[in-house]
């Protein structure tokens, strides 16, 4: 599937070898016409930047289709010169159409080939790998190409002059990278970086050194392992955790202990954690979002086309589940689900900045109460929600990074948080003060007082003093914010590699003090400690962290997701040849 340069038309290659053209209209697509059909399934498509032609890659050949007439104007056999007995199927996995009429193909023989589409001739061929080259992306200037192979390697090709200062240019394989262990299924080429996504569940952003002005934080390779969203939700009162997997949900009850101990001790678990429930989603769709109510008796999840609410009844040790009937249809698609703290309402983040409010009814029903919309309207969907503990406020973040606060008492828009030019990665409303704490993707922290409709004094101090450099240069964004019920000054923040208890009552660290000072503090005597304390209490003991939440009684639940476990579930990497060395 590929859209043309202007985004007005969509071409779809089908298994049967046809290419279908759709017109992009507001709110959907409309079938326009069928292009020439030929045998062999279409595996990849690329539009000419001018939108006049489409190159389609299938097994053993490439076709170039004229969009206006719908005819096949060129057919290029990719392994024409391979002699017959050797012939295997050559799958063209990925294709790109450059504006000068060059078609770049990558195939299962490990080749990246450059073709002149008009003549159908091979311009250049580079064999980059013994296994398939699966993905390909071209930079906007068309002077650089990145390809990903099934061995996990990515290669950069650059259009370089043959002689320094000369006119003649050739594609040269310049940089090999090996960051993945499995197939590289997708690559993208940003102006300053190569981005590759592999079957090993990692997204790697590799900045191009020649495009980065200074060596520093910007020029660092990034590996993204987890999605930047919460996949775990916690029922704090019921002490339940809901884990969201791609096709199913698991509900667990936390274990407990009756012992106490000193720092670092591992206590005996007297009540083991309990696997209460496994909900399998029907059909092939992935679960997009899920939540469990604080009381633990409601579980909701949503896929691209379906939305389900379940009533979970706990009777002693046994658990029964009942699907809630009559879920309103108007809600889809849902991007985030959030339960009110009294478990009476469910907030569903949806398209165009709207948030649907559902009332959850005992013993198992629901009712659509209201739909909240920003006054100015927006095209973007809401992707993050935060509700206040008193049930009065709801904050919603939409894709244009605007944060709107609604009053739930009157179902009306209360205010908007001043725009900040960065994506919001997490937000939460303080239960006691109704201050909205916002974490941005650039690691900035803000506190916004909802009743006063302005940033709090503490937030201004933070902004004036600036956050610590070590904090700003962390690799992953904050994905969840929680508050300590015992101490209103404590804010819990976590990313993949650390969690932090932010104590607002303590001074902020200045540039000269180390940010990560916990281990140093532990060795200091009590009076010296007091002088060294600062607001950020960071613990990196548990990695990689998927979720952290504060419970009552000074308890904290952390969910680690070891990468080794993920790897163990992956299919084995590309088969190496069993014979020979």
């Amino acid at each position: 599937m590929a859209a043309n340069g202007g985004g007005t038309r969509l071409a779809i290659g089908c298994e049967d070898g046809s290419v279908k053209l759709f017109q992009v209209v507001p709110g959907g697509i409309q079938f326009e016409k069928n292009l020439d059909r030929q045998k062999g399934r279409v595996l990849c498509l690329s539009w000419h930047p001018l939108g006049t032609h489409i190159a389609a890659g299938s097994i053993d050949f490439i076709r170039v289709l004229d969009v206006r007439s719908g005819r096949t104007v060129q057919r290029i056999m990719v392994n024409y010169h391979v002699s017959k007995p050797k012939k295997r199927e050559c799958v063209v996995w990925s294709i790109a159409f450059l504006s000068d009429g060059t078609v770049v193909s990558s195939d299962s023989f490990g080749r990246v080939q450059f073709w002149d589409w008009e003549r159908g001739t091979l311009l250049e061929s580079h064999t980059v790998s013994t296994s398939a080259v699966l993905s390909l992306a071209v930079s906007e200037k068309e002077d650089s190409i990145v390809v990903g192979t099934s061995t996990g390697a990515t290669y950069q090709f650059q259009l370089l002059p043959v002689k320094a200062g000369g006119q003649e240019k050739r594609w040269v394989r310049t940089k090999p990278f090996q960051y993945h262990t499995h197939d590289v299924r997708a690559v993208a080429h940003s102006p300053t970086a190569l981005i590759s996504g592999g079957l090993d569940a990692q997204l790697v952003i590799r900045p191009l050194m020649e495009k980065v002005q200074r060596k520093g934080y910007e020029a660092v390779l990034r590996k993204v392992t987890f999605p930047h969203r919460c996949l775990v939700s916690c029922a704090r009162k019921a002490r339940l955790l809901l884990f969201q997997f791609s096709q199913h949900l698991e509900l667990w009850r936390l274990g407990s202990t009756n012992e106490t101990g000193k720092d670092g001790e591992v206590l005996n678990v007297c009540r083991m954690p309990e696997h209460l429930l496994q909900l399998k989603s029907k059909g092939p769709e992935h679960i997009y979002c899920s939540c469990v109510s604080p009381c633990g008796s409601w579980v909701a999840y949503c896929t691209a086309s379906r939305f389900h609410i379940y009533r979970v009844q706990h009777e002693g040790d046994s658990v029964s589940v009942k699907k809630v009937p009559g879920v309103p249809k108007l809600l889809l698609p849902a991007y985030q689900l959030q339960c009110a703290s009294d478990s009476g309402r469910l907030f569903v983040a949806s398209d165009r900045g709207s948030v649907h409010v559902l009332q959850l009814l005992e013993p198992g029903g629901c009712k659509h109460l209201h739909t909240l919309r920003p006054p100015a309207g927006t095209a973007e969907a809401v992707y993050l929600l935060a509700s206040s503990a008193d049930g009065n406020w709801l904050a919603a973040v939409s894709g244009d990074w605007e944060i709107h606060v609604y009053s739930l008492k009157h179902f009306k828009h209360h205010c908007a948080v001043p725009m900040y030019g960065c994506a919001v990665s997490a937000l939460a409303i303080h239960p006691a003060t109704n201050n909205l704490v916002i974490a941005y993707a650039d690691q900035q922290l803000f506190e916004f007082s909802i009743p006063e409709k302005q940033y709090t004094a503490w937030s201004r101090t933070v902004q004036n003093g600036g956050l610590h450099k070590a904090w700003l240069e962390r690799d992953t964004p904050i994905t969840h914010i929680a508050f300590n019920p015992q101490n209103p000054a404590h804010i819990l923040l976590h990313d993949v590699y650390m969690f932090c208890v932010l104590d607002k009552s303590l001074p902020l660290p200045d540039a000269s003090t180390p940010l990560f000072n916990q281990s140093a503090l532990k060795q200091l005597p009590e009076p010296a400690r007091q002088r060294q304390l600062h607001a950020f209490k960071i613990c990196k003991k548990f990695q990689p962290l998927l979720f952290a939440e504060l419970l009552e009684e000074n308890r904290l639940v952390l969910v680690e997701r070891p990468l080794a476990d993920i790897r163990a579930q992956l299919p084995p990497p590309v088969q190496q040849q069993p014979f020979g060395t």
């Binding site: 002699s83 591992v266 208890v501 916990q518 020979g580």
Partner: protein, 723 residues
Amino acid sequence: MAALCEAFTLCGLGPSGGVGQGGGVLALEPGPGPDHVLLTDRGRTATLFKVSDQKPLGCWSVKHGQIITSPVVCNFETHEYIAVHDDKVLRIWKDEDVNLDKVFKATLSADVYRIHSLPHGDPLVLFKGGGVRTLDVLLEAPQQEIENIISDEVIKWSEAFLEGQQPVLIFITEKDGDFFVYVQKLKMNSLHKYKLEQQESSSPLSFTAYIRKQIITLLCLYSNDSVYKVLIPLQQNGEGEEQILSKSLLLNLSISGSVLKGTSLVVIDKDHVAVLGSLAASGEESKECLTIWNTKFQTLQTSKELPLGTSGQLWCYGEKFFFTHGKVLTVVIYKCETSSLAAAVGKLKDSQASDISSFVNWNTLEDEERVVSFQPQQSAALKSESKMTLRSRRNSVAKAQPDAFKVGQILLNIKDTSAAVIEDELRQLLLKAQIPDFQATIGCVITALINRCKTDPVFYPRNFLLQMVQKRELSYSLCPDLMAVALEKKDVHLLQICLQRFPDIPEEITYACLKVFLSISDDYLERTDVNLESVICYIDIEPKNKELKTEVVENGFNTELEEDSCDNRVLKETHTTNDGEFCPVGPRKAALLNAVLHSAYSETFLLPHLKDLSAQQAVLFLRYLYYLYVKCSEKINTTLPGMLSPTINQIMDWMCLLLDAHFTVMVMLPEAKGLLSSLHKFVRAQVRFYSELNKIEGTLRELQRIKRQKDSQAYSIEVLELI
């Protein structure tokens, strides 16, 4: 693998072009384009075809009563067609000419056998008398006299090549069952005549040849269902004398019981030939078929049955076979890839590297061996003669010995002729490195030389032997007496090289070498030439240097300290009387001993011999081994630098072996005591060190285990204090 594709018909043949010997067409020659062929039938007509279109492009015929005697060829330079009819009348025409009567005509003075056209160059005209002219020369004076070279021999086959820019014509004649090969280089105006080696009860049926690297390879299909290979070097300086070309069996055309009666063959590439013939299984009717054979693996790659019969002619142009099948001319496209074991297992890298295989065909050796063994051993005049010629040996220049080809002759010569003559002959022989089973031949030659050495104490072709051992892949078993003679002559350099090169030296000889090396004086070694590659990188003392230093001692410096200064720094600070610090032998002797250490041996067989070493020699050897061991242990990777230097395992094995063999002697001998005790200390220190490392390893493993245990817990409740 080779493969024959579907056949198609090019054209039908007239009544003359039938099946069976004598039928068919006169010839098929490549046409002006890559896809074109020129067909000349046995009558009056020549036709030009475009093969892929299966259609004729042009057809020419001579008048009634005339007959084309030499097939039409295309002059690729001028795109003209040339033919000869009625033996003497030459015709040249172009595409647009229709009537052959009206085209250029020249009547020649002699009968033409064939015209050969070359891709870049003038066509060559071969006359039945063996004379060759280029077309240009011939057209200047068509009536010129053509010499008769071959008298009453009859030309059977001819072929022309371009070697570099030089046209080469080869033709084969027959007379009374003898076959002669003529090689004519036109530019040089040289003609060589060879006689093809006789084969009992079979005669050649078909020939084909190709040229590569100045050597013509002639393949002959014989009536005994075998293909023989004959190598004809182009670089020949001697002239006139008739040489006999030996042939080697390339391929036996038999497939599991059934035999292919070949009628003609063509070469496809260096490993493949195609043979057209009839396959006769016992008790069954024979059927004609086209086959492709791999000569490297002696296997039949593919075949195609031709039920309608053929005329026994086969041509191959541009990956296509042409032959008559029934009443039509059939074309079969083939595919033939170089096959190799590597390709079969998918590991093919570069096929060019393994061009010359060096395995021995033992059967061909028989004759030569017989010559060696049955010749009378002594020759009376031998001594005086070789003495006399020895002086002139150096300055004698290699005289051309055209007949040096016959190895048997050389072997005979070695018995009695002078050393100078033998050297020359051998040099000639070496130049012909292409002769089959060269390695085995060299083995025979060396054996013969050694026999001569044994009988004649003055005779010793040292340089030749050195060269042979160094360059060729010989082995001990191929020339068993070589090392014995070298030992006798104390030729340490030859022994060193033998020890390095031969894979199969018996322990007895190894021991003898060791004994000689240990006993030989350093002064003697100073004068000899020994390869020092293996020691140059680590040995530290020049004995002469040492003396020099002691002389220039001044300012009250201790001589002993000064001695060390040529050693490296580390040693300078340590105790000077330590045995392990200096090399106890000179670098030359060390190099020789290294060669011994490097050779293969079996402990059981070596041990009894080692016991025969004298106590002094044993101590010296042990001291050297100890020195090597210390040197080895200095480096973290326990290897000595340099080429062919002994490994630590070799050193340790020899040390143990030596101690086993001379246990009591070592214990008793006072001078060995110091050595043994320092050796003991050194080894003990090492053992301690390694045992400590082992302990650490255990600890590390335990640490790892603990860590893993901690990790594996899926659920835990921990106390965590945040300050």
